[in-house]
Subunit: 320 residues, 4 copies
């Protein structure tokens, strides 16, 4: 009998995005993406989609260069947090405890093999909408904004990595993440991984950084309710002068209906819809895409833009 799976992470909690243009980035997330500001502290503004249950899912922090400050996962229980910390301590990946942040309690920080910073926390502040944002239905966190793209909730993030395989093993072994799909090249090297801790088919992805750089960020994704909402997002990005990199189109991998743009700070942002697709099997069999299969492009034939393999934040030429 196989050992039982580790189920200690509950979901992706939030991401800290660094931006050299904090005012313009904030306007983008509020006016165009339709998000709500739920707090400010120091150089950071905290933001949320209308159906995110926690205080925030995006921490936008002014910085010299764009990129990701950290990603954070909420654990399923205090005990689950303790178990993960015990596993990480002394592993060489551990950084240590922080006192927490606006919206959540103490967090344990660690680093993946590529150097991205990851926080684990359990204690969190449930969002309480102010009167003007109270929803009509009590099972909803916040009033539907009816502004811009109206993103619903944080969906996933994507990092670039110089060594995808090493990162996959780290997330499997230390955090109990499950690999639902991956790309394995003809030489046996791993070029992409999609991992989940929920019934979503992925909560984060790592893809190979073709520049060989380490620790870079690829994109953050918010979910909307339908593919039509993604198309409408494209209309709205066009009107707002937001540069569209690719899409709307359907990925072959994970079948996500996607749209990639650049926020004013230079970070890539995605709006997506997955339809009613969920991974319900507790023993899902990883889908392995070969190099040849990936050359076919996306589901309906669109070729992947070259920038998709090379552009990340911070841009390589701005790294020290």
């Amino acid at each position: 009998m196989q050992p039982e799976p580790v189920l200690d992470l509950a979901h992706l909690g939030h991401l800290e995005m660094l931006t050299p243009k904090p005012d313009a980035s904030l306007r983008f997330f509020v006016d165009v993406m339709g998000m709500a500001e739920s707090g400010r502290e120091g150089d950071s503004v905290y933001l949320r989609g209308w159906d995110d249950y926690e205080h925030h899912t995006l921490k936008l922090t002014a910085a010299k260069k764009p990129g990701m400050g950290h990603m954070a996962f909420r654990t399923r229980s205090p005990q689950a947090l303790e178990r993960r910390v015990a596993a990480l301590k002394g592993s060489g990946h551990d950084i240590g405890w922080t006192d927490g942040d606006l919206g959540h309690g103490p967090a344990f920080r660690c680093r993946d093999p590529d150097g991205h910073v990851i926080e684990l926390y359990y204690e969190t502040e449930w969002y309480a909408a102010p009167p003007e944002l109270k929803p009509a239905l009590k099972n909803q966190a916040q009033r539907f904004p009816a502004r811009g793209i109206n993103v619903r909730r944080l969906d996933h993030l994507n990092c670039l990595a110089s060594d995808v395989r090493a990162n996959r093993i780290f997330f499997e072994d230390y955090l109990g993440c499950r690999l639902t799909e991956q790309i394995v090249m003809s030489d046996g090297s791993e070029a992409g991984m999609w991992m989940t801790v929920t019934n979503k088919s992925y909560d984060f992805a790592y893809t190979r950084d073709h520049t060989g750089a380490k620790g870079r960020f690829h994109h953050l994704t918010y979910a909307v309710d339908s593919r039509e909402d993604v198309l409408r997002a494209a209309d709205i990005f066009l009107e707002a002068g937001v540069p569209i990199e690719a899409g709307p189109h359907k990925h072959a991998v994970q079948q996500t209906f996607f749209l990639y743009v650049y926020e004013p700070g230079g970070n890539r942002v995605e709006v997506c819809n997955a339809g009613a697709r969920l991974i319900l099997a507790p023993d899902w069999k990883t889908i392995v895409w070969t190099e040849d299969e990936r050359k076919k492009g996306q589901a309906w034939g669109m070729k992947t833009a070259e920038s998709f393999h090379t552009y990340g934040t911070p841009p390589v030429d701005e790294m020290e």
Copy 2:
């Protein structure tokens, strides 16, 4: 520190539906719902949506009266199944082991306080599409049928119960199900419960049987990808002469976009879409709807049809 939640059930696996008109019911599920037949045995035909990963999610069995034969949950692991069986044995709810069925291995049967039969199993047969149903994308179980309503996957089921509270406690205590929303009447009695074992906001619901009968079935629901797909389903049901009971409309409870019809055998069937809504919080705070709130009707004001509270299968006047 609270004890950790039980996470032993992975998802709703399938439902056995009884029908006095097996041929007409089969035609309904295949031609109108767009499902595929994956097996036959005895008086039963096994059916599936195009994205269901197991052999089947619906077992359609010829019987004198309509209703539910049993519901079945897949556990997360063999160990999880053992734990649930240990909890049930000797509880008075237990029935005992079966050898399994077409498509899955040994199953442990039990009964909820209202008498509905529940199976738990772990071993399952993954669906292998025959050549003519092979999908273009390898991360999909079966080719999109492009026929009828094209239901994607089993979503949830709903039973009627004479005592909702007793059933809630049973599912919480013995099976580790989590209560996401409920209706509590002014007199303190519970009139409805929505429970989940996944990130879906519910995998099954029980509502009060206003006739006072026990063990009846309310409906089975398949998911489609968008609200527009539900509207199109209404167009298709209309053309096919399928009686529409209610909808399309949006429930206040759970915000599901719903459409209820009757299959030829007399059972109520729903087609639904939940948008991108998921319950990600591991400590979700149950939403409690009051009697007054429920009187307001559905989200956009539609009043609940009276038949919704009284019609179930088998019909009361056909019960022994």
Copy 3:
């Protein structure tokens, strides 16, 4: 050989809506419906959807009671206007010329048999978007607002009439309107008419006023791009506290996907989508619905709300 049809009217141009709550009505049309203000004069504010090509399609005028000030049709040419005026002059329906209004040139006014005021005009002012409302694509009148319901363009209007038949004959004989669908009761009386001067299946409808009152207004309708947009409109009306009368649902007559609400001034407003349906046949054969057919309710079975037959503006008890 049949005489050739009169093709002198080009389309419904605008409607003047009277409101006893001008500020609240204005906020409704701008914030919730997503319309833009294009002018003010006297007690009136002029409004438009983002794809309306003329200066405005709605003139909102402060008044003691809600209702319709007038409806206006643009003719296909100056000559066509002359022909219609010649036909009306001395008919008893004619009122006479006005100097025009903000946004359009001289207009000829007349009255239908029920007393509703109708204007015909040809000269019009094409909308020129100010810089902040310039669209990204030059074949669009105005930037997509990404605010509220984002209604696209005026679609149609509906009046109540004490004598539907008399009004039908007036619109056919004097204005060349074509009857695409109608309701004829068992006693031979006409209870509803849907008429067009375009390829839309109707530009206006008249239905019987069950109160027997004359000259009342039933509703004004703006079009959005999809049925999903109508569903989203329902979500947004709910959040904004706008009373929903009926829908979203699909009419059997004309198959319009509809949603009716009340604007703060008391007038009924509709948001609709017709899919890709057009009447292309120049000799369309009028669809006649019988009394029995109408009793079946709407397309998917919803019964027509009683208020739909009796509530109009001004309300009967406010009429002099």
Copy 4:
């Protein structure tokens, strides 16, 4: 005062498509596009979308090479047909009368400057659905098929032309078609034209044949109800192994949401949706796109595939 516009053509009636693989083409249109066969005669099969009111909108004819046999417009009246024939006779464009065809009466044939054959007719046979295709709603021509892509109605066609300007003048002067949008290159030459005789923003388009060939066919387009329906069409084409050339994406010109595929005979076929966009202005001001503007690609940035400018039917290397 300007002369009044000619309004003699009612709409695009049908197209005769030539195919070297008649059986495979027929299967494509029936099984994948979801069309219905309404007749057979000689080497031709007649086909229709579920909301086309005439006997057919596509005549599929076996031939050595793919391409267009002819296009046909229905006139608004018998008198209108007489006027157009009078204008064409002796113009050098006229071919002469035919006795008609399955589904329509006598037709007058002419040729545009590029050599494409055009038929004008008035008498037509309204489609009468056989019992198994009777719709539930009497204002609909045929039952919604719930099979494949379920195309609703013929939308438009596109031809290639060696001299776009000459063709534009022909359609304006002889047939009264209105130019809604066009592409004018930096050297003043016309590279594309979109013309209408209805409230649709175009009923046909001609674009420059970059190979310099004459009389070729570019594509035929059927309309579906929403952009989501076009996305679903892409899913279905992928499953059916139909080659996708481009899309789904949104054209800058006309803002059509498009998807281009190749039917088995080699002809390009489009599925489109225009939302609620209509041209209501009787004096629409032609939108002129410059060479620089067209270099920007489609609305959301997709570059136009090179094959779009060069591939037509018959292929150049198969022309005599």
